[in-house]
């Protein structure tokens, strides 16, 4: 290599050029990152501006507390409660399946399974999370519902139970993988402390590992609520589309998401009432999931900082 020092002027020029390049690159990277903020903002702006017309026909209070949803009828009614009820019912069924099974799976994987068993089981479970939801919808309508009808002959072809169960199975890997991560990040010393005291695996899992990982585990629960509330295709295909308030899982019902799909399938002129209703419904959905997501994120951050 030449040991010739470069003349000062050109060095300055070079440095200036390099600094300029560095700054330009940083600015571009920043813009890419800032896009996330822009997207969130545009979601909120679009949802609000496209639905605001609806609230000139119907008051917000009426919209949020009305018990009848018939925007296409004459005279139209815009009470979103039936859709919220359908959403919460299907989500509840899904969570009744996903939370116990996901937690038990996570405990088994983290505290009982051998390293080799874990390496096989985990990716197999992950496949469940990767299956397209339209395939799950098909499965719920044409496999699970007929199967359930053999046990409950009075079950109608569209009902909340079948898509709820299928949705729950789909969410199991979400609960299992976050919970297992949380339990596995519990330090080994704590576990050994418990074993050294003569505890069995079960006692260690239940009394030491589970409480120590509780914030991570509960964040998985909250994220799965948000997932179930926002799930669309399974319920749109298999739950039926009747917006009625019912707490009977054997009946059909419409969810917020299924309603949006149903309306989108028809003719949807820009600015029409139907067009505005799906944005209003979407706004409610977005706000519901936003609350869950932020809360869940906060919890999962806490468990990472614990150790």
């Amino acid at each position: 290599m030449n040991a010739q020092p470069s003349p000062p002027t050109s060095d300055l020029e070079y440095r200036w050029g390099r600094n300029f390049q560095e700054k330009a690159i940083e600015a571009m990277l920043f813009l890419a990152a800032f896009l996330a903020v822009a997207v969130t903002a545009s979601i909120m702006v679009i949802l609000v501006t496209e639905s605001v017309g609806l609230f000139q026909t119907v008051s917000i209070v009426e919209f949020l507390t009305g018990t009848e949803w018939a925007p296409m009828f004459e005279p139209p009614t815009y009470g979103i409660l039936p859709l919220v009820c359908g959403t919460l019912m299907t989500s509840l069924i899904a969570l009744i399946v996903a939370i116990p099974m996901g937690t038990l799976s996570a405990m088994y994987l983290s505290e009982f399974a051998s390293l080799r068993a874990r390496e096989w089981i985990k990716p197999s479970l992950e496949i469940l999370a990767g299956i397209p939801t339209v395939v799950y919808g098909y499965f719920a309508l044409l496999f699970v519902t007929p199967l359930l009808q053999k046990i409950l002959p009075s079950l109608p072809g569209f009902n909340m139970l079948s898509p709820g169960i299928v949705m729950g199975i789909m969410i199991i890997p979400l609960v299992a993988s976050i919970s297992e991560d949380a339990m596995r990040s519990v330090p080994r010393e704590l576990r050994e402390g418990s074993y050294a005291a003569g505890a069995t695996r079960f006692q260690t899992a239940l009394k030491v590992v589970f409480p120590a990982a509780i914030s991570g585990i509960s964040s998985s629960y909250i994220l799965s609520v948000s997932r179930a509330v926002g799930e669309t295709m399974i319920v749109a295909i298999a739950a039926g589309l009747q917006p009625i308030i019912t707490f009977n899982p054997l009946e059909p019902a419409a969810t917020i998401t299924a309603f949006i799909v149903q309306v989108s399938l028809g003719d949807l002129p820009h600015g029409s009432t139907a067009y505005q209703t799906i944005f209003a419904a979407g706004l409610v959905l977005a706000l519901m999931t936003l609350v869950f997501n932020i809360f869940g994120h906060f919890l999962s951050k806490r468990y990472r900082e614990n150790y």
């Binding site: 010393e189 704590l190 050994e192 402390g193 418990s194 050294a196 005291a197 003569g198 009394k207």
Partner: protein, 268 residues
């Protein structure tokens, strides 16, 4: 009284009955080379026995054989025997490791209280055993904390989180946790290596006080500590037991050249 089963020549000075005795013990991590090679060692009852040696010599591995901690991880294998009271072989596959751990307590290198209250930490071992009578647990918690010389510092805040205690207090809490279940032997794995000198002195003093109640086996990286607290000392090197004798003898007139070199600071 010299142990009958162990004929190691350097054990001539053992004057106490053996509580636990390793006989031709070998241990293998996951099928690899032996980490402990044919160790025979009789641990005297109600005495403190120190395990010393350079790092990697297998002293912690040996210690964790006594409560079968190695069973927690796959493919580990023991050979030989560890006899408790000359009758029960602790490493027999017929004996449940949990039974062993109920009789042999352990205190770890770094304080590892559970993220629970001070009270619940001490009560844990009792609850594990299915004890649910409040009065029994209360009494045992107080007794153990007193034995661990922690009672006066924490009696007014038993329901506080254990993490709020200082490092030294946490370690004494872990000792109390081990004492609560009346173990016959307590294993200490470098119990003061994460503590400052004052906390170390407290823990050492505590161990000396416990001597008339329970048998103790201590792994320590500090020869000074071994000299200060132990009655007997075992020196290990490369997975083998080189010499075992009264501490005073090991430090003043070791029989083996290796021991002399180590004590003299020539390696390790």
């Amino acid at each position: 009284m010299v142990s009958e089963t162990s004929g190691h020549r350097s054990q001539s000075g053992i004057a106490h009955k053996a509580k636990v005795e390793a006989v031709n013990l070998s241990f293998y991590y996951g099928g690899s080379k032996a980490a402990i090679k044919n160790v025979s060692l009789a641990i005297p009852e109600k005495q403190i026995t120190a395990l010393i040696g350079p790092s990697g010599c297998g002293k912690t591995t040996l210690l964790r054989c006594f409560n079968r901690m190695h069973d927690l991880y796959d493919n580990n294998r023991y050979e030989g025997k560890i006899l408790l009271d000359s009758t029960v072989n602790l490493i027999s596959t017929k004996i449940d490791p949990i039974e062993v751990r109920m009789r042999v307590g352990m205190v770890f290198q770094r304080p590892n209280p559970f993220p629970k209250s001070i009270y619940e930490n001490v009560a844990y071992g009792l609850r594990i055993r299915g004890e649910s009578r409040r009065r029994v647990i209360d009494q045992k918690v107080e007794q153990s904390l007193q034995q661990a010389a922690l009672w006066n510092e924490v009696k007014d805040r038993l329901n506080d989180q254990a993490y709020d205690l200082s490092g030294g207090q946490q370690q004494r809490l872990c000792i109390a946790r081990a004492l609560a279940t009346d173990p016959e032997l307590i294993l200490f794995d470098e119990p003061t290596s994460a503590l400052d000198p004052i906390a170390t002195a407290n823990v050492e003093q505590l161990m000396l006080q416990l001597k008339d109640k329970v048998t103790m086996l201590v792994v320590t990286h500090s020869m000074q500590q071994a000299a200060r607290i132990s009655d007997y000392t075992a020196f290990m090197y490369l997975g083998e037991l080189v010499e075992f004798d009264q501490t005073s003898k090991i430090f003043s007139a070791p029989a083996q050249e290796k021991t002399r070199d180590y004590i003299g600071g020539r390696f390790g």
